[in-house]
């Protein structure tokens, strides 16, 4: 399989935070969602791919090329939206793009203008006067105007209204139809990913928890609900994280079939998982481990 992005044992050490040996691959022509609680390292991964921050160790390959040794080439084939949208506020929309255009050999001014029209982004409006959502649209228009084959988006849907968010997701789905373009997309809004992502990578406190196909996740992982009397040594081994309430428990399992087998006929309910549940339970598991370590 041909990969748009290969990350091997990527490590970044900051005072108080370490991204620990993260490895995953994104096959060409697919969308990958990067999820995890705040401070998980999602933005750090994207910044490492773009060489905005320097890795402490590890390797990033884009289209099979090392991102540091072939920096100019891989960046010219990569579009991005950063979590902040740093454009010069006193420039008009058209001017903001004209500052960036000379960096790209394949910049397509007509496409940029067309995207601005589609996004209802007035070319003559000053960047200062744009809302956060509109600035995000500008960043997206820039990212999509030079024929990028890999698009890295850091929280692109934050600040966007639901209508445009849906349109953006449809556009991303449309982009990968050529089988050439790939998208890595970090977000807190996991419902967005359920619509479009082919792969999900979950980070927590700098650790890679998993990176797998969405269908595989939905097939293997599940939410289990039942009375607290079901929580014994055997069932606890099946659960990654358990939330106890007055009327029973809700737990996350990474082995739906085994849970079904063990809990058969005992009154437990096994439900389809949503990515939101995954973020909640795995985030909670992290907190519980942290608390246990402190104690």
């Amino acid at each position: 399989m041909e990969y748009a992005l290969e990350i091997k044992a990527l490590r970044k050490e900051y005072p108080g935070f370490t991204l620990r040996d993260v490895s995953f691959v994104l096959p060409r022509g697919h969308i990958m969602g990067l999820i995890g609680p705040n401070g998980a390292g999602k933005t750090t991964v994207i910044k490492l791919i773009l060489n905005i921050v320097r890795p402490s160790a590890g390797e990033v390959k884009i289209f099979g090329l090392d991102n540091l040794r072939h920096e100019e080439e891989v960046k010219s084939r990569t579009g991005f939206v950063l979590d902040e949208t740093p454009f010069y506020g006193y420039f008009k929309v058209a001017g903001a793009a004209s500052v960036i255009a000379p960096f790209y050999k394949a910049w397509d001014g007509a496409r940029f203008e067309m995207l601005c029209r589609e996004f209802e982004l007035p070319l003559t409006k000053r960047v200062n006067a744009l809302s956060r959502g509109m600035k995000m649209k500008l960043a997206l228009a820039v990212a999509l105007s030079h024929g990028a084959e890999l698009i890295l988006l850091d929280e692109p849907t934050s600040g966007l209204d639901p209508v445009f968010r849906r349109e953006l997701l449809e556009r991303l789905s449309g982009l990968i139809q050529d089988g050439r373009t790939s998208v890595l997309f970090s977000t807190h809004i996991t419902s967005d990913l359920e619509r479009v992502a082919d792969y999900i990578t979950f980070l927590r406190e700098g650790d890679l928890i998993f990176s797998a196909g969405r269908d595989e996740i939905l097939e293997k992982w599940a939410i289990v609900k039942g009375g607290t009397e079901l929580l014994d040594e055997k069932t606890s081994k099946l659960f990654r994280s358990v939330s106890r309430g007055p009327y029973g428990f809700t737990a996350l399992t990474a082995d739906k079939e085994e849970s079904r087998r063990v809990l058969a006929g005992r009154g437990a309910v096994i439900e389809r998982i949503h990515l939101d549940d995954l973020v909640f339970f795995l985030g909670r598991e992290g907190q519980q481990k942290e608390e246990a370590a402190r104690e």
């Binding site: 100019e72 960096f103 050999k105």
Partner: protein
């Protein structure tokens, strides 16, 4: 020069374009204020050119665009080269503006500023460029290591320290009669030798700067400074997280 470095130069020129007219106007006004002392006049021109060159960096700091440009096609090296290129272009433009202003002021106020004519020469041009470029060559490594504002503080501290040390050393290079005299007796002790150094520097420039050998030596010093400054900037910027 690589395409990204030229793209960065174009970007710097675009982002500062709005300031060119007010800068040129204030440049003229400031020079007019100091026209009676040719060397203070020259130092003012060099300082204003430094400010003009640093403005592009200040604007980038204001809008926090460093991560954006680091993510665009190019390398950290091409960004460093682009900044040095901008500095060179602004210094050249500053020199042209300086010479044009000097001719204009000398023509209009020749009787009040008789010594300005001497600056429109190889000697004046070399002194101006040496001052402007050396300041940039000291500032840029700080910028690439610390970012704009911290670099400004470091540059100011290092600049004052280095200048005072250099001026104190220069005072010993000239005959004792040259650097003595003036109104230095009113200054506290350590400033007296610095003021002597300033007089000695002016004397050295007036006496030697126009000579081909000195210009060649200045060019060599400048080339070595460019090399060292560039290498330091590259080393700092390559390892910096943005």
């Amino acid at each position: 020069m690589s395409k990204p470095a030229i793209a960065l130069l174009k970007k710097d020129l675009r982002t500062t374009r709005i300031l060119w007219a007010p800068m040129a106007f204030s440049y003229g006004v400031f020079l007019l204020m100091f026209m009676e002392n040719a060397w203070v006049y020259l130092a003012t021109g060099a300082c204003l050119t430094f400010v003009a060159a640093a403005t592009a960096l200040g604007i980038d700091d204001r809008y926090q665009t460093e991560p954006l440009f680091a993510a665009l096609p190019g390398t950290r090296g091409s960004l460093v080269r682009g900044r040095y290129l901008t500095w060179g272009v602004v210094a050249a433009a500053g020199l042209a503006l300086f010479l044009a202003n000097t001719v204009l002021i000398h023509t209009s106020f020749g009787s009040r500023a008789p010594r300005l004519a001497s600056l429109v020469s190889l000697k004046g041009g070399t002194a101006f460029l040496a001052g402007t470029l050396l300041a940039g060559l000291v500032f840029l490594p700080f910028h690439f290591r610390f970012g704009f504002w911290r670099a400004m503080w470091w540059f100011t501290a290092a600049g004052i320290g280095l200048s005072v040390a250099a001026l104190n050393a220069v005072a010993f290079l000239v005959p004792s009669g040259v650097s003595a005299g003036g109104q230095t007796s009113a200054l506290p002790g350590s400033f007296v030798s610095t003021a002597r150094g300033l007089r000695a520097l002016v004397w050295l420039i007036e006496r030697y700067m126009g000579r081909p050998a000195v210009i060649a030596a200045a060019a060599v010093v400048l080339a070595v400074s460019v090399y060292l400054s560039y290498r330091m900037s590259m080393r700092f910027y390559r390892n910096r997280d943005l």
